[in-house]
Symmetry: C2
Subunit: 490 residues, 2 copies
């Protein structure tokens, strides 16, 4: 049926169409059914019925769908009812303990990308992955399907690399430093990062305090060719796009499902065109991975997958026992990053960044990696490269101006040690929660400054400073500190 | 925050509120978050943002939510952001293979009833039930939780009974006949039935061809006290209401999950106040349950649950190898029911109904059950009771008028046997699909009339007649018959 587009500035959270009830009856669809809209290709959307807003010859289009089909109000499109996806058969197959083939997974993932599956169906798939597991070949095939259904970047040159950290450690903002160092010695790094999901801030949130992170694929390509690197937000780029939808569902229960995690990380990196990949797995009390044995078990799987995709890989296992760096929160972390790049800043963040940069450089097969990394860092070349990247992302040379405008929140409170002794525990989770109570990541100026890491401390010495723009949030944070004690002195 | 209700005639498929973007920011909620609306009790709904439709001091309310909160436009309500439900923790617990306690299940099911869980979260719960199973005590506790979170009927007298069929057999409309017989001999039967989900028609669809089936709980109570029985649609009564929401999710993949099936059936029957319950499990080639052993395994579980709830139970195992009765489709099945009640009609439907009515009567402890059932049936007493029930449901004595208006679809086509031989297979699924192609259950006059069951047939003798209101559908049905051959002659 030909219908006339009517765009609504309506954030439905997903691609939705509004139909007049009479049109819906004619098409034999009802609320929550799917329709296919054929423009240059087929796009699927969920049906809502609202006769007062759309005429019989019209189809109302939600904001999210409009962003996909990009048609003006008044344009004619072909709309047809969409059969219940055969993907449901494949999900049932997986729920029943069977192995999905490459063909199965290609279809299933493509259906997810084309919005032809509901969140509940994706949840069934995810639960089946968790409870029935996935064979190694299946994980490989899932990764391939996830790459195949999205855009893919390609760069010339020997040294196209990328890095990823499994996460779970507060602060730990090594990425901008590593990227600056490695880009300055000739490695190409099309780096995309996420925003915070449950943590105090993500790399994209931190970079956004001084630079635009919503880059197009075209801009990324241009930057990597010219500046050797970018520090982009990965969210809307369409690199392995099924991943975002699957993560959205997993997040409902805060699930970490190993085959999905592996395929998710690897597909994103492969889609950026990287040939050398460094994976950082922090482990320890309070990190995502509890101990070295578990970290290595996961690491071996990364190596195995990398081998199948003919990628060079290095997995490093780092300490995840406490936060890395002093600032936790978007602006606080950026200040740490800037200080380190200028040769000052927290020593732990500096050492870890130099270590990871050296490993990544070695992995690329560049000789004298350690010396080259240290030269780039201590000569200030890396800092210059960082400025260059930020200016390129902003499209003008405003690095100094942006940095001068960085400001911490107006309310601050120093928390002193209640007794003398040894700090034996700083909870990553607790510090993250504390930051979120103080307003991160939305309030970029909020967060926590850690004066001490695991070390001896005297009664009355400052442990941490809290930053927030709201008195109520400060009160809540103090109450949280009182109750949960994220730092333990013995 | 106090907001003014603005009712929309908007079928969102679930309880949804519309907020102005500024209000949403103030409340710190976004699209797909949940809010709590406090009126006399707390009700939860999903957030959508549409600044053009609602002012800052307003809250738009979808049709589904309006049906729950029942407030006029302009009423003031308290609206607050709702924390992510702790139920997600419980679902994760079940996904991780743990057993849920009575307290856990009470909370989880109550969250489902109050719309505080998304369909994806329910899908995770359902998948966990399927893959990790449920212990017997857990199934009992689930049943209790499902009863507890809904309305409950209570009737005086010794003989309050109910019946349920697992389904999967085309036609098989025994319920109206059994209810008429048993009600006429003094058994109270607050019978609620469902509409067709994937079959050609449900009992509610069949009864609706001559009577109102959307009864209130008050009306049901009154009818059971006066006429001994009703034949209501169970959909909107709020008896074990979590069930409907869980089924809606299971249906996405056509899943049958045993502990959920058991709890679902038992909770609905318990909520109607029944003390004697008859369960019909058809088994055989093409039925839901493949063989007698499986049927008995399921049956034993029903007995075990019934014992715990101190209910009298009888499980009968019947042949599900072929459709029961001749008519398949709402009007066609009603014509079979009427014919049987008048002493004519398909012999298989009559015999099965008499058998089940006898078993139910025996179960109630009534002596000479077989004779009493036959007397009620052959004397016409059961038919009179049926008329009485229909008239009571309609609120006027219009039984004859309603029956006289029953009409089959205008296009009909007789399909003859292509060769002489033995009919060795009639697929329940195939006949159901055929009916749905012809337009059932929406088109009540459509469907299939089976001239023959499993028996010898001569070439050219009529096998079935197709009924539909649409020439295109007839064409599609003939194509389906050609391709899928739901009837096999050897």
């Amino acid at each position: 049926m030909k219908l006339k587009i009517k765009n609504f500035n309506w954030h439905a959270g997903k691609p939705v169409v509004f139909l007049n009830e009479k049109t819906a009856i004619k098409m034999n669809v009802f609320v929550d059914d799917r329709v296919a809209i054929t423009n240059s290709k087929k796009i699927y959307a969920i049906v809502d019925i609202f006769s007062k807003m759309v005429k019989q010859n019209e189809i109302g289009v939600s904001h999210e769908l409009n962003r996909i089909i990009k048609l003006k109000s008044g344009s004619l499109v072909e709309v047809s009812s969409s059969e219940i996806s055969d993907a449901s058969f494949l999900i049932k197959k997986k729920l029943n303990g069977k192995t999905l083939s490459q063909k199965d997974l290609n279809f299933l993932i493509s259906e997810i990308v084309h919005n032809n599956l509901t969140e509940a169906e994706i949840a069934f798939f995810t639960a089946a992955q968790k409870l029935n597991g996935m064979e190694f070949e299946e994980t490989i095939n899932l990764t391939k399907a996830m790459v195949k259904t999205g855009s893919k970047l390609k760069f010339k040159g020997k040294y196209v690399a990328n890095k990823h950290c499994i996460g779970g450690v507060a602060g730990n903002r090594t990425t901008p430093i590593i990227i600056a160092i490695c880009a300055s010695i000739g490695i190409k790094l099309p780096k995309t990062s996420s925003r915070a999901i449950t943590s105090a801030s993500g790399t994209a949130d931190v970079i956004e305090t001084i630079a635009d992170v919503k880059l197009s694929l075209k801009k990324i390509t241009k930057m990597v060719e010219k500046q050797n690197a970018c520090l982009a937000w990965g969210g809307s780029l369409g690199l392995a796009p099924s991943d975002d939808k699957i993560i959205q569902v997993e997040r409902l229960l805060n699930l970490d499902i190993e085959p999905q995690l592996l395929a998710s990380i690897m597909s994103k990196k492969i889609a950026t065109g990287a040939k050398h990949i460094l994976i950082d797995i922090p482990y320890g009390h309070g990190a995502k991975v509890r101990d070295l044995a578990r970290a290595q078990r996961l690491g071996r799987k990364f190596y195995k997958i990398a081998k199948r995709f003919k990628l060079k890989m290095k997995v490093v296992y780092t300490s995840g026992d406490q936060p890395v760096g002093n600032g936790i929160g978007p602006v606080l972390e950026m200040l740490d990053v800037l200080a380190v790049l200028q040769g000052n800043g927290p020593e732990d963040l500096k050492q870890k960044s130099l270590y990871l940069a050296t490993e990544l450089t070695k992995l690329c097969g560049i000789k004298n990696a350690k010396k080259k990394v240290e030269d780039a860092f201590f000569s200030g070349k890396a800092y210059e490269k960082f400025k260059e990247i930020i200016n390129a992302q902003n499209g003008k040379k405003n690095f100094d101006k942006k940095v001068s405008k960085l400001k911490l929140a107006k309310f601050e409170k120093i928390i002193p040690a209640k007794k003398s002794g040894e700090i034996i525990y700083i909870s990553n989770k607790g510090i993250n929660s504390l930051c979120r109570i103080l307003g991160t990541p939305e309030t970029i100026s909020a967060g926590v400054y850690l004066h001490r890491h695991l070390s001896k401390v005297k009664k009355g010495e400052p442990l941490l400073t809290l930053y927030t723009e709201s008195k109520t949030k400060m009160k809540d944070a103090l109450r949280f500190l009182e109750e949960f004690k994220p730092i333990e002195i013995k």
